[in-house]
Symmetry: C2
């Protein structure tokens, strides 16, 4: 299978204000997006792919001028891939508040003429979905063949099935959860405290000061990254291997790097702090914390999901301790209680939460088979 | 059962330098300690209790001038308690490098006339045990009835059984591990990075600048605290409860406190940052990372533990994901392979790693029964 090849982002400006769940609104805004494949004549083959914390509209392919810029789900989306772009018209949208092109904290607030910074309104999963629906309107897509996402992206897919029940045939929720646990929120708050207390954060207006709260972002990313990997996988990949093993295989007795795992995490943290926006990190973690569709139903997920009309594909990974299989099973059980059609795959995979992004034959085969079914349905509907 | 009542610390100065595992040495130093109960005539009833990261020599009782200063294991140690001070002579020692009285980073380095700060040498679990052994010498204790500890304290008990096999009859290792995992080290390094990158850390010499790296310490404590609690316990105690639930039960849409768990963790972090020393935190996490008695035996714990002579009590807690029961079983299996006498209790308890400090009837009964056995042995030996 080959990659979809060279791709390029588009952007669309929305002049009508968007009312947000917080009560605030965004006056006008731009969404950056990419599409792959061709929309068919009856506009029935569109699939929306929703991104997670550290990703964007750039789902598949590469940019002409950046040969290493492969999209984050390139193994999943492309010609002949599980989500086959020879069949489906795939859309990736960068969410509001992100730092990868769509209107976000580093953009100019028309009200002040200065970057939004911490004044960018907190956006929720539901706000993102509302903005995505406007893009779908503009692209002439009344109903998606599927809305699909992993982790935070899965929350968006779930929100689509609740907010616009008739605008998606299939809802694909992977490595996700109906709401964060106290432990999930706790890790997010550690990350936020690391950023907020970094003196270079400057109350969110660091752009004006020509600084970046790199130390805070680094610590935030390090703690986040630990929760993306499984304990076993970390043990196997790093264990207690020393960074300087080749030299003398001894401890350094200082606060530099002794172990490979320290080197790896610090490197990941440093890299992240060089490209990710601190305000975006803060607001995305809040969107995660706030997501809880059962909340308006006294915590009853079954009642919440009674609004859905889509068919569901839910998948989880055995070693994912961030959003464990148990959390996916809650979604499945609530759907089954509502007599919805639901396919559930609990995949035995070693790579923790990150597994949803990685190549795994059983996982890919499941998604491929499910898209075959969607395709067969579409053919039947056309026949 | 009543507390042991009013207690007071003692201190002992050691003029002879202590050679450390790192190759460095500490010229002279003071250890602060407390004792409870009475040493019997043949000096056979002494029990050494080793402390973990955030604790000290103050194991039981209260200080006369501080009615809320109850010792950290007061539920375990006292008259009629599982470790009964009517029978045993119990010693708690504050370890070198700590911030609770024994010589540590905030004390004056005789070589410079200024506080050690980051120049305080990195000390290991084995260095602590060597220092404790000198205190035992000074107190005239040739052989302990037991050396006991939880978590990092359990590592010290294990190190005693290896370094001084004939100086303890019983070794009691609770909620501990023969070595940290990559994930354990990763969390420690997040904590260290938070402290080291706090501008108020000032390379460890913050004392001279009249500041404290409170933000770094706060984040370090928050992430540590998450690993002390179980996921289930956190879910039950905090869940998604909002801090302002009584007011309007809505999200705040800012970066203040929304959830109870955020409030709790930030409070714990703030409190910790007001009394704990940043240099001590750094060096204790390194002592944790470095502990690995099997290292000199090509990673073979069975070979390492062949040096032991003591009888063992090992206990773990079902929901402890920091040092899970699996890690205790590694110790037990290595001991059994060496045909050592070992009692192992895997206790079904909801409170995660912190369970070793908490009241739990089954746990307390196990420890009580084990000390009864030690007592019976001592009576037999005297008869």
């Amino acid at each position: 299978m080959q990659s979809i090849g060279i791709v390029a982002p588009s952007s669309m400006h929305f002049a009508e204000p968007l009312a947000l769940k917080s009560g605030a609104q965004i006056g006008d805004y731009t969404l950056v997006y990419e599409t792959y494949g061709t929309l068919n004549a009856d506009r029935s083959n569109a699939v929306l792919v929703c991104h997670a914390l550290n990703a964007s509209h750039h789902v598949a392919g590469v940019y002409a001028d950046k040969p290493k810029s492969t999209g984050w789900w390139d193994n999943m989306v492309g010609p002949g891939k599980p989500l086959d772009t020879d069949r489906f018209f795939v859309i990736g949208v960068n969410n509001l508040g992100s730092c990868f092109g769509s209107t976000g904290p580093m953009h100019v607030n028309p009200a002040t003429g200065k970057p939004y910074g911490a004044a960018f309104p907190l956006v929720t999963v539901e706000d993102w979905v509302a903005a995505q629906a406007r893009l779908a309107d503009a692209l002439g897509i009344e109903r998606f063949a599927a809305v699909m996402g992993g982790s935070l992206g899965g929350m968006q897919a779930l929100a689509w099935s609740l907010m616009f029940p008739d605008r998606l045939r299939h809802c694909m929720v992977i490595a996700s959860t109906p709401k964060l646990s106290a432990q999930n929120i706790a890790f997010n708050d550690v990350a936020r405290q690391a950023i907020l207390t970094d003196p270079d954060y400057r109350g969110g207006d660091f752009y004006a000061h020509g600084v970046v709260p790199k130390n805070g972002l680094k610590v935030a990313r390090m703690v986040g990254h630990i929760t993306y990997l499984s304990n076993d996988d970390m043990a196997e990949k790093f264990g207690r291997k020393l960074r300087n093993a080749a030299e003398n295989n001894d401890y350094k007795f200082d606060f530099g790097v002794d172990f490979e795992i320290e080197s790896y995490l610090r490197y990941q943290g440093d890299k992240f702090s060089e490209y990710f926006d601190a305000n975006t990190y803060l607001l995305i973690t809040k969107a995660l914390d706030y997501f809880d569709p059962a909340r308006e139903f006294d915590g009853d997920l079954t009642k919440a999901l009674a609004q859905t009309r889509a068919e569901f594909f839910v998948a989880s990974f055995s070693t994912d301790w961030r959003f464990s299989p148990e959390r996916s099973r809650e979604i499945v059980e609530a759907l089954v209680s509502n007599r919805r059609r639901v396919t559930y795959a609990e995949i035995d995979a070693p790579h923790g939460h990150d597994a949803f992004l990685l190549e795994d034959q059983r996982y890919m085969n499941m998604v491929r088979a499910y898209y075959q079914r969607i395709w067969d349905q579409l053919q039947g509907a056309q026949a």
